[in-house]
């Protein structure tokens, strides 16, 4: 019996075998592929994010909504580019930087990343403190306990499972959507403001634009999305699922952001109430949304902050370790990967300490670190664009021209906004000094 003649035998045998296959039932398929994209962006709606969206809405009403529309387009493309870099090269962002740019550039980029991400972690711990203060727990208990819990969950526990719980908790942020609907906004004007750009001459408008950019497109999200794609071994052949994941994650995150703005714009803005923090936002919204909303807002904030407080230090330590060739990974022992563990622990301990130290002005520090992130974004985008247009690395998966142009426009807008902001703060600083003398 010659083998090739056995084609029917091959077919019948193959037909009998139970091959593992992806379930075709739509909702389950979606749930199964929702992963890195959603985590990266959900972690973005953290304490800093909520505070920014809520106070932007309270200060300027619905007129800032168009900024979010603009940012959503840029955000989706940037996240997709990050994931595609991972899928096409099979390498993390920092590996690509080290191998394709000079050592000096690598060190420069990694230092910015470390600094900016420490700032993010500080704001996450501030978020943990604020959310639990809403529930009546002092920050001197919540922050140290939070830090220890996160550390143990990542180092000793099953972090992936816990991550999903945090993700679900941050789902409580959806309650802002109900708050927005309860506030009975003028939906016509919402629709108009989403597409009609309007610029306010108010100097604070700049500050809010920069803050909105910085908190919506945080640089760590791209690094995380790319390394998660590499980690899962996703290749270009199954990249379409990752695209859907990225799209859903980014849209979900920005939808929540838009509803937070609508909620505060239609309640606090007409009443003339100004707020500065996420906790303020929650408290201020209670009269409009009901006492129960306070708990939902608090849990949502807690979930998003815990999620990011775990993901950001981990991503940062991975990125740095990969760039400099140190052993990394939570499946390694302390002896095998000492630098990785030291860095990871250091980021968490330092951030928790900063949040608790009474001597430092947290708000000023957070603003400063947010600026580092704002500066980091265009630089990181530059590197990403360079890499994503490198034919050697990406093959046929390089950026298309339209894609490049939109990302470059976003990059220019971000850069200009950041520099205007920096310029105006230097002027303010100068004025306040001359005012004193």
């Amino acid at each position: 019996m010659a083998f090739p003649a056995n084609k029917t035998m091959v077919e019948t045998t193959l037909a009998k075998i139970k091959f593992p296959r992806i379930r075709r039932f739509f909702p389950f398929t979606i749930l199964a592929i929702l992963g890195p994209g959603l985590i990266a962006t959900a972690a973005g709606n953290d304490a800093g994010g909520i505070a920014t969206y809520a106070s932007a809405g309270a200060h300027f009403g619905l007129s800032v909504l168009w900024i979010m529309t603009f940012l959503t387009v840029g955000f989706v493309l940037i996240q997709e580019m990050a994931a595609r870099l991972g899928a096409a090269t099979g390498k993390g962002f920092s590996d690509l930087i080290r191998e394709n740019f000079s050592l000096r550039m690598t060190v420069f980029m990694m230092s910015l990343l470390l600094l900016g991400n420490i700032g993010l972690v500080v704001s996450e711990f501030a978020g943990i403190a604020a959310s639990l203060e809403l529930l009546g727990i002092t920050k001197y208990i919540s922050v140290p306990v939070g830090a220890v819990v996160i550390w143990f969950l990542i180092v000793k526990g099953n972090y992936p499972k816990v991550e999903k719980i945090f993700l679900l908790m941050s789902g409580f942020l959806l309650s802002y959507i109900f708050a927005a609907i309860l506030a009975k906004p003028d939906w016509n004007s919402v629709a108009i403001n989403l597409i009609r750009p309007s610029v306010s001459p108010d100097p604070e408008f700049f500050l809010f634009t920069v803050a909105l950019i910085g908190t919506t497109i945080a640089p760590f999200m791209q690094v995380f999305a790319q390394s998660a794609v590499v980690e899962k071994g996703i290749t270009m052949s199954d990249f379409k699922y990752t695209r859907i994941d990225t799209l859903i994650g980014t849209l979900f995150a920005n939808l929540v952001a838009i509803f937070i703005i609508i909620a505060t714009a239609s309640t606090l803005f007409p009443a003339g109430i100004r707020i500065d923090t996420a906790a303020d936002a929650a408290t201020a919204l209670v009269p409009f949304a009901g006492e129960f909303a306070r708990i939902l807002f608090a849990l949502g904030l807690l979930g998003a902050s815990l999620l990011a407080a775990g993901v950001v230090p981990l991503t940062t330590s991975f990125a740095l370790a990969n760039a400099f060739g140190w052993e990394a990974g939570i499946n390694r022992s302390f002896e095998e990967a000492p630098i990785f563990y030291a860095m990871f622990t250091f980021i968490i301990v330092l951030s928790a300490t900063i949040v608790l130290s009474p001597a430092l002005s947290l708000i000023k520090l957070l603003v400063g670190l947010q600026v580092v992130n704002g500066l980091l974004l265009p630089i990181q985008l530059y590197f990403m664009l360079k890499l994503a247009n490198n034919k050697n690395l990406m093959g046929k998966h390089v950026n298309p021209v339209w894609f490049n142009s939109i990302v470059i426009i976003t990059m220019i807008v971000v850069t200009v906004a950041v520099f205007l902001f920096l310029g105006s703060s230097i002027v303010t600083l100068f004025q306040s000094y001359s005012g004193i003398n």
Binding site: A2, K7, T13, L103, K232, S237, F324, I330
Partner: protein, 426 residues
């Protein structure tokens, strides 16, 4: 004299009559697979916007951290053109990943250690320390608490880069590691893309071992990026049961494409294994075993085993068949019984008759109980009617029924890194 490459770069190069002719830009190496490869030449930059110039290493008179002097005044000023298999140390090797063979880990080239012993300059080792990084950046180290960490070139494996210029990298050093470690290193570090390039350059049997050790998802990614012929070549080196497992993770469409490329015998063996339903002993069986016929004597049997092309992974038992032509199982010999046997004795007289067997449609758990009860580490699987030997099932393979979905726990753990969370291999 030992010197770091970073201390030489940018140094002034003077000719015999002490005229400065340029600065050092890079070093060229040709025989990277040597124990300590010699530097074949220097690349010199002669000022801004000028092409690089090549100077053979034997023209170098003196080379230290202060100066580089040549023995000659004659320098060939034709611009440097890169030829095949020339590796530029700065361009191709700095910042790239290498495998530290002793520690079985991936790391990066922070600096390179050279040995200058007139008239040859050799590549001695790779500096993977933080101090090496600071050296490159010309940042003085604080208080001298940091130490260099040099991996000797003998114990390092360069993985190649992604540059336009192709050069062949020999993976001799890498091949000395266990397949599990190679799999972890080449897919965890450089990513599956470069990993599959490395894999393609390894010898087929080693590549087969590595693929066997990968998680189903990685297997799938990897195989799909390989050429069909290469896949068939690698599968030829796999035991049929491993190949069958591989086909299950690849899916029916791909399996149909590869089957015609396999030879008839291998293909039928794999197909036979694939046709057993889940949870039967047959599905856990391998057809990779040692067998001799009963009518041989001890010496002939030894000769037969010695001539076996590829030894099976599990060879603790030697199965005895009635004769060369029939596959009828008549006895079994454990390795220790075989070792103690008289040289002239016939196999028939030393074998254990009526061995314990399992049938292909027995539930695998029943077979496990049987092995456990009689303290046997592998059972022959025979056809119920004719007692024909179909394959064997080892205890190790059998207990994988208790692992989630026959999931290769060992490797999966190696790959579960950081924040990976998906384990649903369907």
């Amino acid at each position: 004299m030992e010197v770091y490459l970073s201390e030489l770069l940018g140094r002034k190069i003077t000719n015999k009559s002490k005229e400065a002719i340029g600065t050092l830009e890079d070093l060229v190496v040709r025989e990277l697979d040597k124990r300590h490869p010699p530097v074949s030449g220097l690349l010199i930059k002669r000022g801004r916007k000028k092409d690089l110039v090549y100077i053979p290493a034997h023209d170098v008179d003196e080379m230290n951290t202060k100066q580089i002097r040549l023995t000659t005044d004659i320098v060939d000023l034709t611009p440097f053109q890169r030829r095949e298999n020339e590796i530029l140390l700065v361009n191709d090797m700095y910042d790239k990943q290498i495998v530290d063979i002793d520690d079985r880990r991936l790391t990066r080239v922070n600096d390179l250690l050279l040995e200058v012993e007139k008239p040859v300059i050799r590549l001695k080792g790779v500096d993977v320390s933080v101090l090496g990084l600071l050296h490159r950046l010309h940042i003085p180290s604080i208080l001298g608490i940091l130490k260099h960490n040099i991996v000797d070139w003998e114990d390092a494996q360069f993985l190649g880069g992604q540059g336009q210029v192709k050069f062949n990298v020999q993976y001799k050093n890498l091949e000395s590691l266990h397949a599990v470690d190679i799999a972890r290193i080449i897919f965890e570090g450089p990513g599956y893309k470069q990993g599959s390039k490395v894999l393609a350059a390894l010898k087929d049997p080693i590549a087969a071992d590595i693929i066997e050790e990968l998680s189903p998802k990685l297997q799938k990614n990897l195989i799909e990026s390989m050429k069909l012929e290469d896949v068939a070549d690698v599968i030829k080196h796999m035991p049929p049961d491993k190949a069958a497992d591989l086909f299950i993770s690849l899916g029916p469409a791909y399996a149909q494409k590869v089957f015609p490329l396999l030879n008839k015998e291998d293909g039928q063996k794999i197909l036979a294994l694939l046709s057993y339903p889940e949870h039967t002993t047959g599905a856990y069986m391998t057809t990779d075993y040692l067998a001799v016929s009963a009518d041989l004597n001890f010496e002939e049997a030894i000769k037969l085993i010695q001539d076996t092309e590829e030894m099976p992974d599990f060879a603790y038992y030697i199965y005895v068949l009635e004769n060369k032509l029939s596959n009828k199982l008549v006895g079994v010999l454990a390795a220790h019984e075989f070792l103690l046997a008289q040289r002239r004795s016939r196999i028939e007289s030393i074998m254990k008759k009526r061995p314990f067997v399992a049938f292909p449609h027995d539930h695998i758990k029943k077979t496990i109980r049987r092995m456990y009860r009689y303290n046997i580490s592998a059972l022959p699987v025979v056809s119920k009617s004719e007692n024909k030997l179909l394959g064997i099932v080892t205890f190790r393979d059998a207990i994988s029924v208790y692992l989630p979905r026959r999931w290769k726990a060992r490797i999966r753990q190696v790959f579960t890194n950081g924040f990976s969370s998906e384990q649903n291999y369907g």
